[in-house]
């Protein structure tokens, strides 16, 4: 990404990305890198994807808590900086309204953007799918004989799996955001859209750099590791024949676009090579330049607790003597736009705040989602592309609603997760335990007499039943938890007794 980051901040801001495709090979948290192939197949076994992968993550309790705290730390910073502004809620409301308006006239805004961008000298391409996006990018590179490419953070290109595609055609692609470079060297996907390597410890990164970049053995100081990466990446910038970036915001009014990073890697990627390819999802459009004020004020603060990214670069047309290509990608987004109940998910500006606050993300790690964009927003987006493959994701939530509360563009995330659950259930894409359990629960909760009767029965049984009858394979909840002692009386019974006296 572009990165954003705190005064103290992390990396870059996630650029785009949206829906993602296919599950990726599970990645061990430490140890052998998984390989990079991204398979597209779907099978019924994958319906259990999130719980199974999360189980591997939570097996290491110390690491789980470390990850939880690391991510929560960013959420806390976001709280501090957002509460410093009395107008914060107003900014969220305005951002949401601007996005809703834009989506209601998206085709017009895209056409106008294209017209203005072309008049500035850019070439605009359109891609319906990830495959078409990859073909378009490759054909631009191939026709100019490009063999070495640098790329700043772009979740869209991750979503499309551009890197493996270009590599299979003999083109070297170097991710230049530090976190992205780290996961690229490990041949694994990012685990967070803003902080791609948040799941790794500095010792693991030291070992990686020792193996691949010639760092001395045992180096684990972040400063020294970053310096080493700096030298490595600057060589790559100087050797590149083309630069690829994402797009944070595309301005319909002017035909320009904005890319945010903390490292300056988007700028180095585009200021040296003569060819710049910018890849954007159709939802990146905003109507007016002045709308940037709203989104830039909330983006980095929500992402990392920084007031703004170090570099917020506005590109209007190619460099003198250079070429600028803009690739506008649908890849399932127009289908989301058709669905009233999910449309607001296209408001997303990829800040990652919903991940940082999510109790499930924090305790299961980004890789457990098996998609490019994890967390609540990813769980809402992914099932659109392949409901069967990602049916477990809308259940990877407690529905606590914290994601919706922190979202800077007011996406009703927890509500959409709930809507997905119903839809997936009706499509029979939910495991039998959940279906049966939900049906029984629904039947009981719809009948006052049944609720009272079974409540009383269970309060009594839970105190008497042998453990094996309570903690069994159908009780997924009890796998890592102990039920509290069953109370002797229900709330209703206590309340009636007190009132009676």
């Amino acid at each position: 990404m572009r990165a954003t980051h705190e005064a103290h901040l992390p990396p870059a801001q996630g650029t785009d990305a949206a829906v993602q495709p296919p599950p990726q090979t599970p990645v061990p948290m430490n140890g052998a890198p998984a390989h990079p192939q991204h398979s597209l197949h779907t099978s019924s076994a994958q319906q259990h994807e999130h719980p199974a992968k999360a189980a591997a993550f939570v097996a290491n309790d110390a690491r789980l808590h470390w990850h939880d705290q690391a991510v929560w730390f960013i959420r806390a910073k976001r709280d501090r900086v957002s509460s410093a502004f009395p107008e914060w809620e107003q900014l969220r409301a305005l951002g949401s309204q601007i996005k809703a308006h834009t989506l209601s006239r998206l085709a017009d805004y895209l056409e106008h953007f294209e017209k203005k961008a072309v008049s500035l000298g850019a070439q605009v391409h359109w891609a319906l799918s990830a495959e078409e996006h990859n073909r378009v990018v490759h054909s631009i590179l191939a026709s100019r004989g490009v063999r070495r490419v640098v790329k700043s953070k772009s979740m869209l290109t991750e979503e499309c799996h551009l890197n493996p595609y270009l590599e299979s055609h003999g083109i070297e692609v170097v991710d230049t955001d530090l976190g992205e470079r780290i996961v690229q060297l490990r041949r694994e996907p990012p685990s967070h859209i803003v902080m791609p390597a948040i799941h790794l410890k500095k010792e693991e990164i030291g070992q990686l750099f020792h193996q691949q970049l010639g760092a001395p053995a045992g180096l684990s100081d972040p400063k020294a590791l970053t310096e080493l990466a700096r030298q490595h990446l600057r060589e790559k910038f100087l050797g590149a024949q083309a630069g690829i970036t994402g797009v944070n915001f595309a301005i319909s009014e002017t035909g320009g676009f904005v890319v945010c990073t903390n490292e300056g890697n988007a700028d180095l990627s585009t200021a040296l090579p003569p060819l710049h390819i910018a890849c954007m999802g159709i939802e990146k459009i905003i109507p007016r330049a002045k709308d940037l004020a709203i989104f830039l004020r909330v983006l980095a603060r929500s992402a990392t607790g920084q007031p703004i990214t170090s570099y917020t670069s506005h590109f209007h047309g190619p460099r003198p003597g250079g070429e600028l290509h803009i690739v506008i990608v649908d890849n399932g987004r127009s289908r989301i736009l058709q669905r009233d109940e999910y449309r607001r998910s296209l408001h997303c500006i990829r800040c990652g705040a919903c991940m940082n606050t999510c109790p499930v993300y924090r305790r299961s790690g980004g890789h457990s989602y098996g998609v490019t964009v994890p967390g609540p927003i990813g769980s809402v987006l992914a099932p659109h592309l392949n409901p069967a493959a990602h049916a477990s994701l809308p259940f990877a939530s407690t529905l606590c609603g914290s994601c919706s509360d922190v979202c800077p563009v007011k996406i009703d995330l927890h509500h959409q997760l709930l809507v997905w659950r119903g839809e997936l259930g009706r499509a029979h894409l939910v495991p039998i335990e959940k279906r049966v359990g939900s049906a029984i629960g629904g039947w009981i909760l719809a009948r006052t007499w049944a609720y009272r009767f079974f409540g009383k029965l269970m309060r009594s049984l839970l105190r008497r039943l042998p453990r094996a009858l309570v903690y069994h394979r159908w009780n997924a909840w009890g796998r890592q938890r102990e039920l509290p002692d069953a109370p002797r009386y229900s709330f209703r019974e206590i309340y009636r007794r007190r009132r009676g006296k």
């Binding site: 980051h5 056409e111 490292e263 300056g264 004020r297 007031p307 703004i308 170090s310």
Partner: protein, 198 residues
């Protein structure tokens, strides 16, 4: 056959919801009692350094007081009056030759108090690679060009002509390794804003 462009636009038009109103974006931003003071505070919060210079003629002197500038050999300046500037970008054929620039002085057009960002526009200057390859940077900004917030900034700026421009807020930085803040990721290792008070 329908092109991807036509197909995307057609499916978007088919999917479009009922029109939602585009809100007018007034200046809803915070105001500070003293925008310059807040600007300096914001710059230091983003790991930059803010120096107030009483008189533009003292610019050179203030630059020499910066250890990074004093030690610099190869200096680019797009601000007139920096006497030790010794790289003329217009005379450089290939931007790749700018990899060893030690210091780059850039003119800032506008500063934003809420986030320490400074607007820098490329205009007709060649080789913006120098801005990002330089080991250290300084931005020279007029004190009268500091606004309170981003809404005011975009009201004042002209966005849209061809060319490159950006907000710079502090040096290149990263916290990608265990969230430890490291200054000098791939770009400039320091960023000093010299505010000319006139």
């Amino acid at each position: 056959m329908e092109s991807s462009r036509e197909e995307i636009l057609r499916s978007l038009r088919a999917a479009q919801s009922s029109p939602a109103v585009l809100p007018e974006v007034a200046d809803v931003g915070i105001r500070y009692p003293d925008a310059r003071e807040q600007f300096a505070k914001s710059v230091s919060e983003v790991a930059g350094r803010c120096v107030f210079v009483g008189d533009r003629r003292r610019l050179d002197e203030e630059l020499e007081r910066l250890p990074e500038f004093a030690a610099a050999q190869k200096i680019v300046s797009l601000v007139p009056g920096v006497h030790r500037a010794n790289v003329d970008l217009a005379a450089v054929a290939d931007a790749h030759d700018l990899n060893d620039v030690d210091f780059c002085v850039l003119p800032g057009e506008l500063g934003v108090a809420e986030n320490g960002a400074v607007w820098v526009r490329q205009g007709g200057s060649p080789h913006r690679a120098a801005w990002f390859l330089a080991q250290h940077t300084a931005l020279v900004l007029s004190g009268s060009a500091i606004v309170h917030n981003m809404h005011q900034a975009y009201e004042r700026l002209e966005i849209g002509g061809p060319g490159f421009a950006l907000f710079v807020s502090g040096p290149s930085k990263t916290a990608d390794i265990e969230q430890a803040l490291v200054i000098g990721a791939q770009g400039p290792r320091s960023c000093t804003v010299l505010v000319i008070e006139e």
